[in-house]
């Protein structure tokens, strides 16, 4: 690959090479293994015989069109619902003085930390007949839950924080300043918002909506738990069935995965096309006064909206998890004589390796956040700020894992790293989990930092170079601090997501090693729902508190501005 064409600013070579090396190791190798598996059905046995023989039978499956259609439908519904909930809240948060704003931010952050399959189980236990809702108020909402509508709501409540935080951050960065210019020239407030603020926030909004779409079509737990009952099959449940139903059909699963990846790539290209049509640079060298407006008359309705959304997204799942964890028996229901701390005591007394699982997951989470953060910022810088040839390839590589179902990443990694001729392999060590998590979560830091880089004017780096800074210094002293808030929040998100990843971990975990998610999953499998929920509650608490404390420390040290 050539690096001679970085004519604008900065010596991009080191960043680009680091990004390329990281991406090949983390993304390209497992993805290539999956593609090869789709073409050569006997790859697992180390043979390249009868190529393409699975392709026809898999693509001829009559259920395929239904599954693909359902996948797109579900993805679009979740995107629409997330946007509907998150965009108004995010805009209010960015432009107005909201009472208790930090509290709402924390409450809307928690859904990230709740594993989707746990949240779904919490909703089921709340809304099903004789569930917690019926025990409290006498009716249930089961018909709503087990439908496309229910699935959309449960998944949207899990993913909308991506949009909320992206919108509130980018709208805040655009600030009221540009809109004020519009106002000076006679635009009404509504017109200034629709014509100036919202379009300029498009990179963050589009990136976050795309992440939601990709997460929705890749999500396994919720469609498996809610969709099957409604007769709603999606590609991921189809892939899972092929992988876990004997005889195992790895080639078929690989082909369906490639289909899923192409859907995600399409939305990504769509997003690129929308953004490429104009410039979104809003961060110039001029200082911005971040003065927010008072809410005035709409204070109460806005507060109620924040409270309702927080309760539904965070309150209901958390309370259901806590109620289950504190129950002596599930059949005992919500009763004072059924309250017991036994499940929490079991977790802390290291029953079934609970403490080990916590340590494993958090170590892996930290490792994943650091690695993906580093590769992510390098890749985003190369793609946005250089004119290097082949940078689209880098950008594409960073998007592929977005749509690779976790279980397929796991199979790809096994295929790639368990070849007998490899002199050394991370397989069957904790590093294979690290590779899997890095692959699955790399898109997060890349998308966040890409959006941040897109808003930084080129003149900032150019100015630094004019005053004699080397490209490295300019990157370190100018660009990095400007994207650091986005990078830091993406890394915290990665930490939270990595420490709870389930689907890949179940298949690829090295022998004798448990993570938080596999621990919870095993407890559920064996009917110890209470113990699993106790573990889930502790994990959610830690994954929420740890990033908050870190952010506070960073703020105190002046690395991140409020």
């Amino acid at each position: 690959m050539s690096t001679k064409a970085n004519g604008s600013v900065g010596g991009a070579a080191p960043a680009a090479w680091l990004a390329i090396a990281g991406l090949i190791l983390v993304v390209a190798i497992p993805f290539l293994a999956v593609v090869l598996q789709g073409i050569f059905p006997n790859l697992g046995q180390g043979s390249f015989s009868s190529p393409f023989s699975s392709l026809v039978s898999t693509l001829n499956d009559s259920a395929l069109i239904g599954m693909a259609g359902n996948t797109i439908l579900l993805g679009c519904c979740v995107v629409a619902a997330s946007a509907l909930v998150a965009v108004p809240l995010g805009v209010f948060r960015a432009l107005y003085r909201i009472p208790l704003a930090p509290l709402w931010d924390v409450l809307l952050l928690v859904p990230f930390m709740i594993p989707p399959y746990i949240a779904t189980l919490g909703w089921i236990m709340t809304l099903q007949p004789r569930g917690y809702l019926q025990q409290l108020v006498g009716f249930n909402l089961a018909p709503f839950l087990f439908s496309l509508f229910g699935m959309t709501l449960v998944m949207a409540f899990n993913t909308f924080p991506v949009v909320y935080f992206a919108v509130s951050r980018t709208v805040e960065a655009v600030g009221a300043r540009y809109a004020d210019v519009g106002r000076v020239f006679g635009a009404t407030p509504a017109r200034a918002f629709w014509r100036i603020t919202l379009p300029l926030s498009a990179p963050g909004l589009a990136a976050s909506l795309m992440l939601v779409f990709a997460a929705a079509i890749e999500e396994y737990g919720t469609p498996a738990a809610l969709g099957r009952r409604a007769g709603f099959q999606v590609l991921v449940t189809g892939i899972d069935l092929r992988i876990t139903d004997w005889p195992i059909d790895l080639p078929g699963a690989a082909i369906l995965s490639i289909l899923l990846v192409s859907m995600s790539l399409f939305t990504f290209l769509l997003q690129r096309w929308i953004l490429a049509r104009r410039s979104y640079q809003t961060v110039g060298g001029k200082p911005t006064a971040k003065d927010k407006r008072p809410l005035g008359k709409i204070k109460m309705p806005v507060l109620i909206a924040f409270a309702v959304v927080s309760f539904l997204a965070t309150g209901v799942p958390l309370l259901a998890i806590l109620a289950t964890a504190l129950s002596r028996t599930i059949s005992g229901g919500l009763a004072f004589d059924n309250i017991s701390f036994n499940n929490f005591i079991l977790v802390f007394s290291n029953s079934a390796g609970a403490v080990g699982a916590l340590v494993n997951s958090f170590s892996l989470g930290i490792g994943t956040a650091l690695i993906t953060g580093l590769i992510g910022v390098m890749a985003a810088y190369t793609v946005v700020k250089t004119k290097m040839r082949g940078r689209i390839a880098i950008d594409t590589l960073t998007i592929i894992p977005n749509a690779l179902p976790g279980i397929v990443v796991a199979v790809g990694l096994i295929l790639a790293w368990n070849m007998p001729w490899l002199p050394a392999t991370p397989y069957n060590t904790a590093f294979i989990l690290l590779l899997a998590y890095c692959c699955i979560l790399l898109p997060q830091p890349v998308r966040y930092t890409t959006a941040a880089f897109q808003q930084i004017g080129d003149n900032l780096e150019a100015a630094a170079r004019v005053f004699g800074a080397g490209s490295l210094t300019a990157f370190r002293r100018i660009l990095l601090p400007l994207v650091f808030p986005s990078l830091a929040s993406a890394m915290l998100l990665v930490f939270a997501l990595a420490s709870r990843e389930l689907v890949a971990s179940v298949v690829i975990a090295p022998v004798g090693m448990q993570t938080i998610a596999t621990f919870i999953w095993r407890q559920f499998e064996q009917g110890s729902i209470g113990l699993g929920m106790a573990m889930a509650f502790i994990a959610i608490l830690i994954t929420t508190l740890l990033p908050l404390i870190l952010l506070m420390l960073l703020r105190r040290s002046g690395l991140v501005a409020e």
């Binding site: 004789r130 992988i243 195992i248 892996l364 650091l370 199979v411 069957n428 590093f431 090295p510 499998e525």
Partner: protein, 319 residues
Amino acid sequence: MLKSLKSITFGVFAAALMAGAAHADVTVYTAGPQSLIDKLSAGFTKQTGIKVSVFQATTGKVMARIEAEAANPVVDVLVSASWDTATDFAKRGWLVKYSSPNAAKVPDFLKTDSAVAQGISALGIAWNTKSGTPKPTEWADLTKKEYKDLVNIPDPAQSGSSFELTAALAGQDNFKLFNDLKANGAIIAGANADALNPVLQGAKAAVFGAVDYITLASKAKGESIDVIFPASGTVIAPRPAMILNWSKNQDDAKKFIDYMLSDEGQKMVADEMLMPARTDIPANRPLISDLKLLKYDTATVYGKRKETLAEITKIYCGK
């Protein structure tokens, strides 16, 4: 900042440590229960000094891993939850022939020359005793109007034993029972655990064909749930243990099978509420001799697996 650096160092250090601990003498892949394999490996290591590495998941996920690893397999001993695995692997020539001296008291139908049962589970009706419904005694009872919309069926596509029950019962009356159940509002509710959970909370009254040991273990924990084995017959699911022919530790693997079938090992199996494979080990639950078993030919039902599952899908998911 210092704090985060510390935790990072710790994380990297811990990851490196765990990597070193991954290699051991016998590698066992097992389709649950985790607590059983934990006890078995601890007891085995104590007795022989040989370490055990364990990978535990559902039968399907264990198989996916073996399939993906096929170019460079690492598993020595496999314990599946479905006898079908033993038959299929023997046909592929993947198994080591071994008859453990401790298998003498295992009935002949629970062992072949390359596989032997670790323990046996049976399927029954799991029934919530506080559900306000009459206690069911027969499969067909669940088609009565008292159980309208209150019955869960584990997905036969996701559970081997559930498939055998479905195939055996459907073979008797050409799917009439399953049509009646559907007409009474029964639903297919995911794998075994997914089907049982709503019954524990009371959203459903009964599971049609629940795995008994999970339900009995819940009952022992104080849940208001019971298992009923219909007098008309049910199916059992022996859990075959086998040694893979690519194993480089076959002697140690044989010792593990011996330990699993020893008095001590079989008592651990019984403590998990599974039926021990050896007939001379007591257990605090109904044993095979107490159950009436449905008669069907395994080879035939598995031969028609695709058709049976398609018919069930048509009845329950057809719109």
